[in-house]
Symmetry: C2
Subunit: 346 residues, 2 copies
DNA sequence: CTGAAAGCGCTTACAG
DNA sequence: CTGAAAGCGCTTACAG
């Protein structure tokens, strides 16, 4: 096809030096405004497009931010990515996105790829079964900025963007207690992950504060899949456990559990009240609508990308910040309101 | 930080030429296997990582595929992206992802960015209100491969990966007719988009085939948001329309509509039977569970990425293929089964 | 099977 | 405010 136009072509046609063209195109201060205008016009006219590789090679900078998420197809993560993309796009950065599919092994390989792709910075939410921090060391060694979001390391020295998971677990559990629940189950994920450990801690705090004893057998560590929710519903039926409240760390799992409980003859919330986590849009359309903790996914993505870009542009040093904690809040819907028996028509 | 190792460092330390190092690292045929092994070992030992910019600059190739989707935070699109990422990752390609946020203007800007980023190929599902093909012309002119998926252009000459939307609309409508529906509404999106136009066509075909007259006022063109679904539910109530079936081009909108109809006193499916589209996981957990058309999102992403990569590697020419049509199928659940009054406990 | 050399298209320290 | 020149780290046609 037609040969690419380079700054040399523009320089030749304008009888000036390539250096000046390069400076003008980058809006360098020291270039005469008329010259600049002339060069910009010519570039436009000739259909010039900058060659990022040459530029990157020279500048040793990629204008690309790597993102590794546990999975792409999750409501929360797609909201986070939408937020990141928005900010990155506005700032002229590109996003290189990959998913670990919740596997530690794949995450290691993704991190390596990001390293070899020379991303300017890396945003990560770790996989379900990630162990240790070792695979991120190359980034630390090379001083490439690394920010964790949602699923983070408590002891990494890297900046982390999170919600207050302890508070989330506490609020959810306290709400269930206030509704009169005496025996509250907690369904959650791998406790190595800060998010699940934090929510459990909040659950325990709320119990303790209300003089309730904590029972280890009331905590179910699962993969938080819908299947897990359904299985536990059956266990509740089978063991004839005296359960009257459930706090689940994931909306989809909560909904599946709720739905199965209903099939087994339980009334929600009168027999068993349920609170989920994330505020997935799904929570509003199920019946009864699901109480949950709102999770600001899009905002988290925006803040993560913005922090990274500010750091890269020297406007901020992420080395000086340990945590950014975003606002999350309890949203009370019908699945948990025992008191004012609401308008649920079911 | 520590200086980057280059092929010159490896060459010097091994007292051979950089050319040989480069060839060995790229597994060039004409290099002695022992030399190769030696070089690979040394590279590993020295912590070498290839500089993609230099390589890209030289080869004029980026190993990056651009993807533009209407939105990142949609169940369907995140499934598609998950499929693309999987294939790309396995083949050593990177994905540069951006979203048009359903805006034609933003799509134009995204396409430009992709062009300037010199992606090797571009995968696109167009925005809700995209008009015309003009903004893709630069890709055509430069012969950069372009593949559309899901929301495509019928007349673009570009390869498209789609489902049979006409069949989907036909199957859904025919099913409703078989359930005894006499007056079926269709809620859909912008008819400029092939997906919605096709489904409407299928809807009309099914009606005609069954000797039913088509009524234009039974078709609602909306943005397919949950709000749109709720609004139409109220319209049905207000106008006292004699509706006994609804086919909606989107599950989330269908669920919202169904939920609102229930609140207004309608029984689903006995009063009104409903079929959605996409087979969003949500369809299984609502009550009644929603009949829908299964949409193979992940497969679509895989096929799109695979086709692009095969084309780039010369294994296939997308210029020779116009369409790839993926299998989709009607999934019958409780929201539409009037006949065998099922176990819906509601 | 290996090497010398040119060049991909930029950017920038230095000089004026 | 502008230019000449070097160099970023690779790849590959050419030669042997």
């Amino acid at each position: 096809m037609s040969r690419e136009i380079t700054i040399y072509d523009i320089a030749a046609s304008l009888k000036i030096s390539p250096a000046t063209v390069s400076r003008a195109l980058n809006n360098h201060d020291a270039i005469n405004n008329n010259t600049k205008a002339l060069i910009h016009a010519k570039a436009e006219e000739m259909g010039y497009r900058s060659n990022k590789f040459a530029s990157n090679l020279r500048r040793q900078k990629t204008n690309t931010i790597g993102v590794i998420v546990p999975r792409l197809n999750s409501t929360l993560m797609s909201a986070v990515l939408a937020g990141m993309e928005k900010v990155a796009n506005e700032s002229g950065y590109n996003l290189l996105i990959s998913q670990s599919l919740e596997s530690f092994k794949k995450e290691i390989s993704n991190v390596k790829t990001m390293f070899n792709s020379r991303v300017d910075g890396l945003l990560v939410s770790v996989s379900y079964d990630t162990e240790g921090f070792e695979h991120f060391k190359p980034f630390i060694k090379k001083n490439i900025p690394l920010i964790f979001f949602d699923r983070t390391f408590d002891d990494s020295d890297c900046m982390s963007i999170v919600i207050d998971n302890v508070k989330g677990g506490y609020d959810a559990t306290k709400h269930l207690l206030e509704q009169g629940c005496k025996n509250i189950l907690h369904i959650t994920g791998n406790l190595k992950r800060n998010v699940y450990a934090g929510r459990l801690k909040g659950y325990m705090q709320a119990l303790e504060e209300n003089g309730k004893k904590f029972h280890g057998e009331n905590v179910f560590v699962t993969d938080l899949s819908p299947e897990a929710g359904r299985t536990i519903a059956h266990q509740i039926k089978t063991t004839n456990a005296n359960v009257d409240g459930i706090f689940v760390s994931n909306d989809f799992c909560a909904v599946a559990c709720m739905s199965e409980l209903k099939k087994l003859g339980y009334s929600i919330p009168s027999d068993i009240a349920i609170v989920g986590f994330n505020n997935d849009p799904l929570t509003e359309v199920v019946e009864p609508s699901l109480s949950t903790i709102h999770y600001p996914g899009k905002e988290m993505g925006e803040v993560a990308a913005k922090s990274m870009i500010n750091h890269l542009n020297g406007l901020m040093n992420i080395g000086h910040t340990n945590y950014i904690v975003l606002e999350s809040e309890l949203i009370i819907r019908n699945s948990s309101t025992k008191q004012t028996s609401s308008t649920s028509k079911t």
